[in-house]
Point group: D3
Chain length 252, copies 6
């Protein structure tokens, strides 16, 4: 009998091909199996509060699907953690947000952390999340590279250079001890940035949120820990217009 | 030419007949015109984080409609303020949340306030909103009458009695100086509760959030104040699957 | 019978002629009647903690007069909100402070706000008020134009230029999304500053505290809301030397 | 030549005979000289925000007198610390508030402290002071004996019993580690309360604010430390109606 | 070649036999190897601030040994996290504190958490740690079973009953959504407590800190993340009397 | 019989000759007697979290000795306040930390204070202490002169120049109103720095922590106040390996 833990990553954007299954190879290992799904209703990418709102319904429905399909945990593939609380109500398996996980781990690895986001406009969102997650006193700053999500890979050299410069700035000016990538589209760049910083004399951890969130989901599933049903109780059955009615495993 | 201010109230639930146009007669006056709309996609009522997530997309779209139809301000008819931030990005007219408005006014009227919600499960939601709105130090408590939204009017006497008892408890145990109704379904009950409290010797203001939010929207529109476009900039145009594409007035 | 709301503005300074009745014409409208009074004991202007202390006794007595003369609400004409809490104890009508009101509205209109004061020395005062009002986490900064109150109009062009420059600085360096005038002597300048900022590409609301406070007082009076008598109970009768004994309406 | 430190205690109430000079004998010692003055304009006692406001002008003027008469430090004889900030601007000698001093010392002596006030209505005042003084996280609670200031000595046995009971309650329910007297009218009762608590098995320090404030003033004067003139700069000369113009030593 | 991660658990107490190697069997798995060491200088158990201080030097030295012996991460076996910060300076491998880890995970699993400690006296210690770790707003309460560490297993039935009762109390009175064991001596009891709570109708996660900390250390080592050397730089070489001089791997 | 108060200063470093008895002459006076001791086990100086941990055991033991030798109070001679909480448990006499005392007095003397430390690396330590002491909202900044403790006197001119420059920077950039020396090795330099600042136009108090802590200890002893035994109860007797067993006066 297998001890494998099955983690489902749900991408809350409708752009096809942004994620390839092989993107997650660096995270997979012998007892950690990763599957991937994507919303079918919602925005092409997430950069605004408006996008966050539009992607939430189907993100939650896709996480309900994950539980029904036998997954042991689900990870939301966006640093705004859209749908996190709603999804936690609907399922029994742990639902993990990369922003929440990265902020809590960064709080442990250093005195203060900076979140390196895509656009200036997402800074208040990051600050608000840090307040709800309870770690606002550990947030050194939120800063941005000023590149839209879907253009991060257009000129990857420029993107990496911007990320490095902004990381250095946050270390020198904001006293950041840890850098968190503020967009899951930056997946895979942590080693490069960490090395660039080391060359400048800064030995600080750089958190790539998706690998960390997946491993955190793995730990929770392994230890049979999940969100508290006291504060995330199942939603009561009620009328729902325009969306498929969620088929909650726990209630059936 | 008229100096009338047109305020649109958007109910983020799909249950028909829950709101009658005459419900708002107590708020209307000579230079305050009120219109009402309701979402067509989403839950029957709002009592969970899941409901909040499901109602947001169409709530925002209905607020965009309000601006396109010439309204001067929009008020969301739910104490979770669903879609507030997303809607503020999409329009130029002020978008007002009854929870946010009530919490800030209550902070002015007393040292601490209590929010009287429908169900126990909404208490963390209220606490989280108070953190984001910046007034968590003024929140005495969130308490509940333990009656689902759609059943508040089933046995109105019981509902009012429960509301009175819970208000007294929050005054005596939690040192509340002001009571806020935690569900816009309690509309119209403030006088009764205030009088019940007076009979028990407690002279405390009871805030009925919708009349306050509408009047606050009126003030903003009259003074030509609205949400800052620095932190609520218009969303960039991008692909959107499964929802009508928003027709933003400011961008067209 | 009239539905008019009568709001009394009380200026807590003894300088004659600083306020003209016509100053308030921009705020008056069909159902909002404004009267004005001024203290007779106290400082020429308010710029220090010392001034705040000296102006409070007569400010409170003038607000008691306002209630006795039939006003429906009172507004204190100074951004230090001197006498606010003491006056709230003495009367039943709502007493409104422009600083408190502006800070709470600014908290709703943006993620963070800046208060643009007259002198450097008032910055700690503004920070302390934000702590008591419960919104210190929303205060981006307090900054100053370095011009004494009674000289604001001496060289109005210079004053407006300074205000614009300091507002821009607070937007760029402190991440302010909303600007609040930190002195009620800046009354009437909001449009100019807002336009100056727009020309520089910043679309941020500028709050002129007196019009906002008066309209907020109007809303409270209309909705029959006032400060909680639980935390602002009437003062007990007791000896008072050197001031006229207050004639409290509620107690007589 | 004498190394004596002269500390002036200023009572901000107009009731004659409430303080006798011999009240301070327990504090005097070889190099600590104590003098006493009292306001001539203001309320009979201080129990309300209104009283606080009315007593401030003459309290500040009496502290200016203290400096002009050669005192080395001044202590305000009221737990609301009325006029503290205004007086600090006007003089160079250290001005000490018993509430501020007691809260900071209590923060050092235990994990949390409780302030035992006279009336329920002063609880928000205590909480607000703790916010401004920066120690709100150390405040376990503010509780009251429900006896007006001028009646504390009417039935001293009852007063002491109430104080003991309320102290025990705050230890058991609010986790207080230190008790602060919330009214300087309780002067001299600390030993009794401390012993009463010891009999009940609670070994907690009880702070009598006036002796502590006077000794703290003595320490500041001895070490030539005083309030920062950066945040308490001298007030500019300006018109003042109805009060004697302050004769500031530093400016003359 | 093996991909095994080697985690060293360091028990900061000198009592022999308190930990058996088999205690950790429930945590071990195919790619997670656990070794164990114990301090030789220090107290028999840890229940006081005094004990915390006395155990720290050798705890840090044993963690330095762990790195020198090839371990990939170290976990401190005490909920006071003694020596955590000092050890992080001395080594390159991640050093993990069970209290810090449990508090951050609990912050993710629920709105608020309670720490169930051994003795009343450790409650301020827990509150202080929550402040430094940045999650004090998520702490519902610290409560105690009032049983010394070394007696937890004397009457295990009584201990489990007390733990259950106190957990229920913290759920009902303090609104705890998650329970954290406040002493690593409670290792292995989570399932029992979780089931007891379920029987009472409370579906809340119970965190056993050591298994969580070890798995968290495993994740950090696997992802090559460790404490930031910006805020935990290596200590400079200097004289040390009475302790063996630490042999830092990174510096040699 | 003498009324002299005996204060013991305990230096938590093993470097001989760093402190001369005459260093404390400036603090001694007619009724304040000062004695001095030094640890025999621990680091040469304190600049790291590692040093803090290593010096704590013997610091606590030396404070127990102080009580046994008849001292009335003890002061720890290091701005990290190492062993403060542990020592408070072990003795009945007040134990005073210079950092805690300086931070609380600075909170009274100004709106915000800066701590001027030796090395950059101690900044998080200062910030964490301010959180535990409850005054983090009063901390303007922690800044450093970048000179190791044992080299402060090597080039005293350079040291004083650096201290002045950093103090000015914290006044101008961080809005500090008060400067605290962040290392007790800076003893005796306050007058010089204060004068240097005055020459630059800044009239701000400079706190030399040891004289203030000693005088604060004197006040506590005189007023018979000490740490609360509710939160600092005596440690239970238990096994202790490698350190002499503490001989607690209160328990014997």
């Amino acid at each position: 009998m297998s001890n494998e833990i099955n983690v489902r990553i749900v991408s809350p954007i409708t752009t096809k091909g942004f994620r390839k299954d092989s993107d997650f190879d660096i995270i997979r290992n012998s007892d950690l199996n990763i599957s991937h799904s994507q919303i079918e209703i919602g925005p092409a990418s997430i950069e605004t509060e408006f996008d966050e709102a539009m992607c939430q319904p189907d993100t939650i429905l896709k996480i309900i699907d994950a539980e029904n399909e036998g997954c042991d945990a689900a990870v939301i593939d966006c640093m705004g953690d859209p749908g996190l609380k709603g999804a936690r109500e609907c399922v029994t398996i742990p639902v993990v947000g990369p922003c929440e996980t990265a902020m809590h781990y960064a709080s442990m690895l250093g005195h203060k952390f900076t979140v390196l986001t895509v656009l200036e406009r997402t800074k208040p969102l990051i600050e608000n999340l840090s307040k709800i997650y309870g770690v606002s006193s550990k947030l050194a700053s939120a800063t941005s590279v000023d590149i839209p999500v879907l253009e991060l890979e257009k000129d990857l050299d420029h993107t990496l250079k911007q990320m490095t410069n902004k990381a250095i700035q946050s270390i020198e000016k904001d006293n950041a001890d840890v850098i968190i990538f503020g967009c899951t589209g930056m997946l895979g760049c942590a080693d490069t940035i960490e090395n660039n910083l080391k060359e400048k004399g800064y030995n600080v951890p750089v958190i790539d949120p998706i690998p960390l969130a997946v491993n955190s989901a793995y730990v929770l599933a392994k230890l049979k820990l999940s969100q508290s049903k006291k504060c995330y109780p199942y939603p009561p059955e009620k009328g729902m217009v325009g969306f498929e009615k969620p088929k909650l495993k726990a209630v059936n």
